[in-house]
Symmetry: C2
Subunit: 408 residues, 2 copies
């Protein structure tokens, strides 16, 4: 088995100031290419640690992708550490220097002196051009392990990966891509999922995994290359039968249609429908999750009942009962729908949220309306504030999903 | 030097399906306790890999915090791997089993059979009660290294860390906390920052770091214990002098007031002022960043000019010039301000965003209004859609910050 590792370098990652998203992104790409990732490692600005881990990886793995430490500042040490670990001198790459100078020239700025350092590459390295920033990447082989070094800036890293690393990897590690199927569920805990699927006979060449995520719990099935499509479909059918309505989508690619927002978006796009939403507890989460979607015409956030009154034109709440809140949610959904001239209105009310400490579970009132119909639901969410924000938005869109399915 | 490592276990982390936020959170806590983190490692569901890395860490570090792999499913292997790596048998912890049964009893559900496995702990381990979920943690010492094992669910992990791990660590590794100062900037690149501060003499017992983040670039100064307050203040003054107006805050704790939103929030709270916003390109980002803030009364997102017309009551745009857009932004800010009955109105317009491919830089028109004043600005943002969303929201709040400072 080809073993690939990921190495991230940066004191800001090690001290927790920045969450490393590069390692996950790279892993995701490599897994889809059929490769196996065996380890992620993060080290900081101590050159000795970086030298040690480079040697360890060279002895253990067949390939390694490294991010970070290529910047112009004194704490960017990757090239020096590589030189020390693999006993190869650094030398000025004049083409790299010209590119860096060109980068600043294009912006009409003089090149800061500190950027010259970025053109010093290990003598045995192949330069990986960076057309999106100042730090060139480089690749080299040591002790049978192929290393690719990229800057830590996510955008530059992704560009260099796509343009240089991926082609090099495909050539060096030709693989038969495995196929991944993800069964996305909402409303069932991990133990419940596990228990419900116990009756299913899972073949030995399928790898089963579980994933508890804020967007819902997932069951992952990784099929070896050569597993027939009909056997894949048969197994998926078994899972759907055991899990019932809690399955909201089945995907065969991780970056598409794995959230409730994607599923709802597909339904709306397919039918050519538009939506307007009113948020309270979710405070911008619904709008943000639908970034770039043309079917979301408008979104409104109201902090409290008074704001709702100002914006939506509600005068008073007759009774503080669940039913009265549901009616108000329906009325609010209809107001935003009309105001936006959209096909659907989605409103969620919740004005008893608590800010201090660990809040108890709070009730949310979600309404879905069209020009002719209105439905509403009472649900509960709990946990820290950010979790309540996410969960309430998910619940609203799950209610909308089920409504769209039932009124197909 | 006491060396602490962090180990994360989970195939979903290794394959990039989930971004590991636990390692960063734990590191942040430990750094503030004065401890030094030397490495993060992530491994997946291969027991052999987990056994190997546990042995490596035991040989290398003085302490290690581990998350994940304590769940009820077949791919949760941590306890077994610990048993193998450290040659200690697993045994049923009856108190743990009673807690797990109690967890389900409290919810009125029978305990799934698979959860029984979570009560099997290494014989030499000390149980760390989990009152927030089903997976108990545990600690044990091997070869002079203290290991703390916690579930991967972030909320449960944090509770167990705070209740059990932190006190144990403070006792085992008494440290003099270092003090960290972060200088937060917006508008200067990393090279520019580096060049501007070259003239500053940085003492040897101060560790300098840079951090490029979506929320702005940061300069980090980590002072050894015993560094006097006046010397700290003197050094900060030197940095402020060189960096000028791009410094928007100086913080001495990483979890507080490090964003523009925190700084604006403090200004508004201090003056008892409220805000209403209108978003376009930022699509919910401003509302979401102000989660739980009582000074944000309402937020509105409009997809296009027609939505703006419906909601804000604008009839037409006389001329498609920057000046006309600025006037429209001011008018929109005033409308949302009046509607919400807030002290400030903040509106940002941008209707020429591009959805396909890598968009070019787009112009954004930001207006800040009060009952008596209106100002507006033209800025640009670029990059992928999510970046434009974040940058446009930051720019809007930075404009508001400067306005609040100038009209103090």
């Amino acid at each position: 088995m080809i073993k690939i590792e990921i190495l991230s370098q940066g004191e800001e990652l090690l001290t927790g100031q920045v969450i490393d998203t590069n390692a996950g992104w790279l892993s995701d790409e490599l897994v889809r290419m059929g490769l196996t990732i065996t380890r992620h490692t993060t080290v900081g600005d101590e050159k000795g640690d970086l030298v040690a881990v480079l040697k360890e990886i060279a002895a253990r793995a067949d390939g390694c992708l490294c991010t970070g430490g290529l910047g112009p500042t004194v704490d960017d040490l990757t090239a020096e550490a590589v030189a020390e670990a693999f006993a190869v001198p650094l030398q000025l790459d004049t083409a790299a220097l010209a590119q860096i100078e060109g980068f600043f020239e294009h912006r009409g700025q003089p090149m800061p002196v500190s950027n010259r350092k970025q053109a010093l590459l290990p003598a045995t390295a192949i330069r990986l051009d960076n057309l999106w920033g100042t730090a060139p990447g480089f690749s080299l082989e040591y002790a049978g392990c192929w290393f690719g070094f990229m800057p830590g800036v996510p955008n530059e890293m992704k560009q260099i990966f796509n343009h240089a690393i991926r082609p090099a990897f495909l050539q060096r590690f030709p693989q038969q891509p495995k196929s991944l199927v993800i069964i996305n569920t909402l409303g069932l805990g991990e133990s419940d999922l596990q228990d419900r699927i116990q009756a299913i006979a899972i073949p030995k060449d399928v790898r089963l995994g579980f994933l508890t995520a804020p967007e819902g719990n997932q069951i992952k099935l990784l099929f070896d290359a050569g597993f027939s499509k009909s056997r894949v479909q048969g197994l998926i059918a078994d899972f759907k039968k055991e899990l019932g309505a809690s399955v909201f989508s089945v995907t065969d690619d991780r970056s598409y249609k794995q959230t409730i927002y994607d599923v709802v978006g597909e339904q709306l796009t397919h039918k050519g429908l538009t939506l307007a939403v009113l948020e309270t507890l979710s405070q911008g989460e619904m709008a943000s999750q639908c970034l770039g979607q043309s079917w979301l015409l408008s979104a409104m956030y109201c902090q409290d009942f008074m704001q709702l009154a100002h914006f939506v034109g509600i005068d008073y709440l007759a009774k503080d009962t669940g039913k009265a809140w549901c009616q108000l949610a329906e009325k609010s959904a209809e107001r935003v729908r009309r105001k936006a001239k959209s096909d659907y209105g989605l409103a969620q009310l919740c004005f008893n949220k608590q800010v201090d400490g660990q809040p108890p579970r709070v009730a949310i009132y979600t309404a879905v309306v069209t020009a002719t119909t209105a439905v509403s639901f009472i649900d509960q969410v709990g946990g820290p504030m950010r979790r309540q924000q996410r969960q309430s938005a998910l619940k609203a869109f799950d209610r909308l999903r089920i409504f769209l399915q039932e009124n197909n």
